[in-house]
Amino acid sequence: FDVNLMLNCGNLAQVQHVVLILSGKGGVGKSTLTTELALALRHSGKKVGILDVDLCGPSIPRMLSVGKPEVHQCDLGWVPVYTDAQKSLALMSIGFLLEDPDEAVVWRGPKKTALIGQFVSDVAWGELDVLLVDTPPGTSDEHLAVLENLKKQHKVDGAILITTPQAVSTGDVRREITFCKKTGLRILGIVENMSGFVCPHCSECSNIFSKGGGEELAKLTGSVYLGSVPLDPLLTTSIEEGKDFIQTFPDSATFSAINSIAQTLLTSIQNP
């Protein structure tokens, strides 16, 4: 009986909370919001990790401007990539394992499942307050794999669901909510992204992707509505360039919205 083995069992042993970012619908801003929530949590003093299990379209490395670092192994497994010297934000993505950034990962389900299993158990995260798991759209291999493997090692605090306001989006997110209920995954809340666009020239608000769907969806499914984030070209440009939006635009309405969601999330996972 080895006490050290027991205390240190599993690379998620020192991760306090694990939250999945799901949608069902593609292109609603899962990766963007995972990145922004991570930055907001770090801004408020937390140690954060991001696990990017979107094998076909890994967006997080670019959003955090980490380029193409080499990934090393240590005794406990893979060392995550840190975005800064203080190691306040750690990241693992298949993006780091590809020789050529334009190379397509054309894998069928079983191979994706196997790699995700490794990502969950073989990354030496160390001490983290929150691990955010970014996922691809859908309810398939990746989602089942990440959930099954996380459950083996650690309790999963729950999932945040991202939608845009329009019905075509909420229609898919309803199915994702069913996925959560069927797999026993606690829904921490719904975030409505791309919620209106304020013209920088004249301040007129246009509802480019319709209006109100997020809140309606929350009501319909009995879920918590965490809030909405507007369409902001400053944010999309910042993400493109891998900059820290929160440092560059701390006074923006967008940051305020993101920060409010981050704080509500933190309260909800710290007091389940």
Binding site: G57, S59, A104, P137, I177
Partner: protein, 322 residues
Amino acid sequence: MADIPSDAPQHCPGTASEQAGKTSACQGCPNQNLCSSGATKAPDPAIEEIAEKMLTVKHKILVLSGKGGVGKSTFSAHLAHALASDATKEVALLDVDICGPSIPRIMGLEGEQVHQSGSGWSPVYVEDNLAVMSIGFLLSSPDDAVIWRGPKKNGMIKQFLRDVDWGELDYLIVDTPPGTSDEHLSIVQYLSSARIDGAVIITTPQEVSLQDVRKEIRFCQKVQLPIIGVVENMSGFVCPKCKNTSQIFPPTTGGAERMCEEMNLTLLGRVPLDPRIGKSCDEGKSFLTEVPDSPAAAAYHSIVQSIQAYCLSHVPREESAG
């Protein structure tokens, strides 16, 4: 391809996959020896059956992206509407996004069901000359989730191609989910003995999209799928009040135009962001009929014309000589 027997163990890789009989999931399965001997890797007879079925389909177009949420389904639906506006043409739209089937809503067909007859499944008709098939029609509730692993999704796609009574078609448009995975491999493999005219690739202007789209383009090249061209969607937004243009999804690395130059592809056109497009989709109406005079509608029409021209000019010698 992968076929999963109904009594297969969990994580069965599929009897026709390279891993058949060799994975840890295969341990203890009564078919393990059969699978690992290679006997199950004979070509899937469905491929020939599908090729036979596709003889009555003149043109097949795949709509792909790699990136989610760029407007594949929106574009597929409007391409179908535009092609079907010629009453002499028979058009069909096949939605192989198994987890997130948007096409029924966008085509105004929510709640419709599919019927079986002696000649197979009947698709759902929007117009006399416009048929649609989607897993959405097989789900009884809008909350039903299709939580399937790859092999089961592949089986569904095979059925869609082989068992739907499409009849004689001028155009079959296939809308796909984002990514480069089971659905994409399956559609290409099952149609490998039928001729696919090519793929239309949809992107939005920003690098976060192009990054994924380049992978999709590589996928097409790898499986020798011709690329008809690229559509840049959500290309700028004109404020209805002050008429200034904002680049909400900024082309920080030159947008689709530069990517097309670099990869030697045709830029079919750019469609601007227009809130009325999303509204039409939500209401199941064709934006082309609802707002025919908009810049976005004009962009769509021009792109559709280019796609038609491509299909008509790229007919193989044996067909055009006949």
